[in-house]
């Protein structure tokens, strides 16, 4: 079987698995809506009728296929809480989440990469020690604590009171700075601590290669070695990490950040959906983000060989 086909089949099977688990947890064992619809004191016949309407009486597999069909056609249903179509809810919230998270995420990663270069260049001397120890201590501080300290410091009259403590009314760059600065700072701090040591290890790996040793021996400066030699070769793992953490950041990362700062993005909507057992919303977010992960992985498999001829698809599968 050609390798591309095999990869695609693998991704498809993953999709099947993810949708199956979402279906099992959120539809099959999920909330039974018939009672909510029937209202008070329904008799069994009424309930039976509603269950039929909702398709609860269908065999397991039929329900699963209906579910897949709805998902594939993006027929995500309506929010149980407020009647909004889920697709519209997502269309409203995804841009907000991207606006809150993407800048901080990118800046944090770039900063981590730069600091990792410093650490790698000064390997084993004090800047390296300082940075690596600091990042180890940093990852030990919960994201939650960072958010609370930062917002108490920057957003309350007890501190500097420079920014609103919560809310989201963004229609211009200035208003973006007003509302997104503090959440972004929190995200940057976490991202730097979280990634610094990983990027340092990547760079160290590269720097032990013969060609860099040679370049160093010939007296090449830190900038030319880092940016011209080491960086291009670490680009692939760097991008991989960036891409693969994106869905997690978008959903899980935004959950805490958005509910803390009251930002109406995907995280806040999923937070509300969790508490309301708003199954159509939760279901859409879980399935779609899982699908996103799989699609990214699948795309990465195709793109990498073009970026870096050393990567051979065959090599990955033992």
């Amino acid at each position: 079987m050609p390798i591309y086909l095999r990869k695609t089949l693998h991704s498809l099977s993953l999709l099947l698995g993810v949708t199956f688990i979402s279906f099992l947890l959120m539809v099959y064992f999920g909330p039974d809506r018939s009672y909510a619809i029937a209202g008070k004191n329904p008799d069994t016949a009424q309930l039976e009728e509603i269950r039929q309407q909702l398709g609860y009486d269908q065999p397991f597999l039929n329900r699963y296929f209906t579910y897949i069909k709805d998902l594939a056609s993006l027929n995500l249903g309506q929010s149980e809480s407020n009647g909004k179509p889920v697709s519209q809810l997502l269309a409203e919230t995804i841009p907000v989440s991207l606006m809150v998270l993407l800048p901080g995420f990118l800046v944090g990663n770039l900063l981590a990469l730069l600091l990792a270069m410093v650490a790698a260049w000064y390997r084993h001397s004090w800047p390296d020690r300082l940075l690596t120890n600091l990042s180890l201590a940093g990852v030990s501080v919960s994201f939650l604590i960072i958010i609370i300290l930062l917002s108490t410091w920057l957003c309350t009259p007890q501190g500097l009171n420079l920014f609103p403590s919560r809310g989201w009314r963004v229609d211009s760059l200035a208003s973006w700075f007003t509302y997104a600065t503090v959440p972004s700072l929190a995200l940057i701090i976490v991202t730097v601590f979280f990634n610094l040591r990983f990027y340092r290890a990547l760079l160290l790996d590269e720097m032990q290669q013969d060609y860099i040793r040679t370049a160093r021996a010939y007296g090449a400066g830190p900038f030319s070695i880092m940016f011209k030699e080491a960086l291009p070769n670490t680009l692939i793992p760097f991008l991989t990490r960036l891409l693969f953490s994106l869905p997690a950041i978008l959903v899980s990362g935004s959950l805490l950040l958005e509910s803390y700062f009251g930002i109406p993005g995907v995280g806040k909507v999923s937070f509300d959906a969790i508490f309301n057992a708003d199954q159509p919303v939760l279901n859409a977010i879980v399935s779609l983000s899982a699908i996103l992960v799989i699609v990214i992985a699948w795309l990465a498999d195709f793109i990498y060989p073009y970026l870096d001829p050393r990567i051979n698809l065959q090599a990955e599968t033992p």
Partner: protein
């Protein structure tokens, strides 16, 4: 692996674990002291609100007059319990599936396990917890179960890679040549050699579980009737504004002590097993 362990320079590498061990002993010391110290029950309320530090209340009291030290102590055990439980179960699951998968690499058990890993890694963790909690409704351990189901995957991947690597070694090949059963080979010869990777990964799961529990209970998704650091921190967001810091300080310092000490110890383990990774 053993080779790199022996060749490692011990002298410079014992400094940090010493700090880690010290903090960890300090953490456990605080807990044991509080455990034997006569404190009020963590649920008990009293008219003595926002009391300062005293012999009766070593960390003061909160808005309801509850003893913060006793709440902090209960929350710490709660966290430790979750950390150990999740690490143990997820570790066990990850190791067994990893061994299986590595041994049968390329064959169907491997394919199935790899597929399962891929599926689990694609689902966002916090939402998975929520969905599982809903599906299992009244089941009190749904949060822990969700963590176990999601946290085993990295362990399985790492163990699988180790098994594949070790399988080709001479001593394994000879063990198989003399007719040792696969089960025996795996447990007696391969497993002990994966120990460094296994320990590092176990403590990573431990840390992840504790951190996740704090965030979940802060958000109100935790076990409803227990006390946890996350809940103390969420209470403290109200109190900090009126100058009462003890809830926040005690919960966040204990949390930091535990995570930092375990991280330091893990890091030194990792450095010894793979010198490139850690802080030299």
């Amino acid at each position: 692996m053993t080779a790199s362990l022996k060749s490692a320079k011990f002298s410079s590498r014992y400094k940090l674990p010493a700090l880690g061990t010290l903090i960890f002993i300090g953490f456990i010391g605080i807990l044991l002291t509080l455990a034997v110290y006569p404190l009020a029950e963590w649920q008990t309320i009293s008219p003595d609100r926002f009391a300062g530090i005293s012999l009766e209340h070593p960390l003061g009291t909160n808005a309801l007059g509850q003893d913060i030290a006793s709440r902090a102590e209960k929350a710490s055990w709660h966290s430790l319990r979750i950390g150990f439980l999740v690490a143990l179960c997820a570790g066990l699951l990850g190791v067994s599936l990893g061994l299986l998968s590595g041994w049968y690499a390329g064959r169907w058990p491997d394919t199935v396990i790899l597929w399962l890993t891929g599926v689990m890694e694609a689902i966002p963790f916090y939402l998975f917890v929520a969905a599982l909690a809903y599906a299992l409704r009244q089941f009190n351990w749904s949060m822990e179960l969700a963590m176990v189901i999601t946290f085993w995957t990295t362990m399985a991947r790492l163990i699988r890679a180790e098994v594949i690597r070790l399988k080709q070694r001479d001593f394994i090949l000879s063990a198989r040549a003399i007719g040792l059963s696969p089960g025996r080979t795996l447990t007696a010869h391969i497993l002990p050699n994966t120990l460094p990777v296994l320990l590092v990964q176990l403590s990573m799961i431990f840390i992840a579980a504790i951190k996740a529990e704090v965030i979940l209970s802060f958000l109100g998704l935790g076990n409803n009737s227990n006390i946890s650091w996350g809940q103390m921190i969420s209470e403290s967001t109200h109190e900090v504004i009126s100058g009462h810091y003890m809830n926040f300080v005690s919960a966040s310092i204990l949390l930091f002590m535990l995570i930092y000490s375990i991280s330091l110890i893990t890091d030194s383990l990792q450095t010894r097993s793979d010198p490139r990774q850690g802080i030299a």
